[in-house]
Symmetry: C2
Subunit: 276 residues, 2 copies
């Protein structure tokens, strides 16, 4: 998917919501457990109920991998029922030496047909560039994550050419030589708006994938005010607060209601904060 | 497996060789391709031919994941034929927020019964500690990798309490508060001996997993001189130079000869450099 297509979808749906498919067999409604592939069935109904309200789905790969071969089948089946115009994110946080990253790229882009993959930056350029060779596919590089441990390394003070930066700023700066705003996004945890402002100085055009609005405590209005750019430039993820709203047979209906509330809030922010 | 058991194996076999099972369907002998599970059959024969010469096997998970559900079956079958006293490393370079890392831990430690997993440090403490809750299982944290891109972030100059460090040194320093030499190792690329000396100052007791001796250009004698500690403390990985020595029906025999040559070299270094 191109950046333009993603923006058109945002405008059409008045939404930049990404729904996280962190589908946990222990948390899905019990009536699904008697089915042959409960995880797929849960995802299928969630997707059917919400696909007009969100622009992206993000399966968290660990939740599938935890089930071994069976989990990969559930993942493949899930992808097959996501409408083709919706952006798909493999939240896998991969990153390895060149020839290995290439294999991951083929697995997620070719075999599973994901549009994008989250990638850890620590190993540097040759762990990332293999993912950038696929036309209209995207790397979403971890820059500033929303988990408590983000200050261990991402906020370390790095000195470069006499100036001082946060580590995550160097990740954004250095990686811009590897790809462009047309094939690279950044994961930016929504914990502080001054960080989002700083990211927008360094990367005005890039899309940002923002986790942590909702369960992890970010503030959607703040993220939108400081994060939206002329082409949208934001994908805001919500998982648990949408997909686990009900444990009953109405779970998909309730998920739709939760997604609708977020979409309506986003519509307001698009009207208010999208630069013209 | 405990540190003591690993050391006893090193002493018994006079070897600290880890064989990387980077098993690529395009590189294995063509006569195996007619079999139902060529990757498993290749691994099975390599393991049978080399298990008395090495102390660890390290499947590179990307090579299995690239085949989807079938690849996970090959991986499970491979693990089932590795003798129980040999240390197993899932080279997966995972690392995610707490609840997700926990799922990866269960997948690799419980379901697949690996002894250890390589983990990327960028997300900090809560991405690593879930892996440390499993008795006698190990985290092998990426510190200094051997790929060209290692200087992009790992060698950045970080200022902390008025002193200057390489990023990889901060990874080693900070992570020592999370685990101990009994459940954590470090990946240290063998590109420069002064880095290994520096690592030994920071982490005298920890095992180091050293990739890049052989195909990636490290020097085994130098690594051994500066890296061996009183409990061995080294696992040196070799993959391509052992497993792809021959494309014929004698591939396992030739792999054994290559592994034997490395083991004999290691025996000399154990005699010479193991501190008494």
């Amino acid at each position: 998917m191109t950046r333009q297509e993603l923006f058109e979808q945002i405008q059409r749906k008045r939404s930049y919501l990404c729904i996280g498919l962190d589908t946990d067999i222990k948390k899905i409604p019990p009536h699904l457990l008697q089915l042959e592939d409960p995880i797929f069935e849960f995802n299928r109904q969630i997707i059917e109920a919400t696909s007009d309200l969100c622009v992206a789905y993000k399966p968290n790969i660990a939740f599938y991998e935890a089930h071994g071969p069976k989990g990969w089948v559930s993942l493949e089946r899930t992808l097959s029922v996501i409408p083709k115009d919706i952006f798909t994110i493999a939240d896998a946080k991969r990153g390895d030496i060149g020839n290995t990253s290439e294999l991951y790229a083929r697995a997620f882009f070719d075999q599973l047909s994901f549009d994008s993959l989250t990638v850890a930056p620590y190993m540097g350029i040759d762990s990332v560039t293999p993912f950038l060779q696929f036309p209209n596919k995207w790397v979403i590089l971890l820059a500033l994550t929303s988990n408590p441990g983000h200050d261990d390394f991402q906020l370390l003070s790095v000195v470069s050419e006499g100036k001082s930066y946060f580590m995550f700023e160097k990740v954004i700066q250095n990686s811009q030589a590897w790809g462009s705003a047309d094939n690279m996004m950044y994961v930016i945890g929504a914990t502080r708006h001054d960080y989002i402002e700083r990211v927008r100085e360094l990367a005005p055009d890039h899309f940002l994938l923002v986790p942590g609005v909702g369960a992890q405590g970010g503030n959607l209005e703040e993220v939108s005010r400081y994060g939206l750019n002329k082409q949208g430039g934001l994908l805001v993820n919500s998982a648990r607060q949408i997909i686990y709203t009900s444990q009953g047979e109405d779970f998909a209906e309730k998920a739709r209601a939760a997604a609708l509330a977020v979409q309506q809030e986003m519509e307001r922010y698009l009207n208010e904060y999208l630069p013209r």
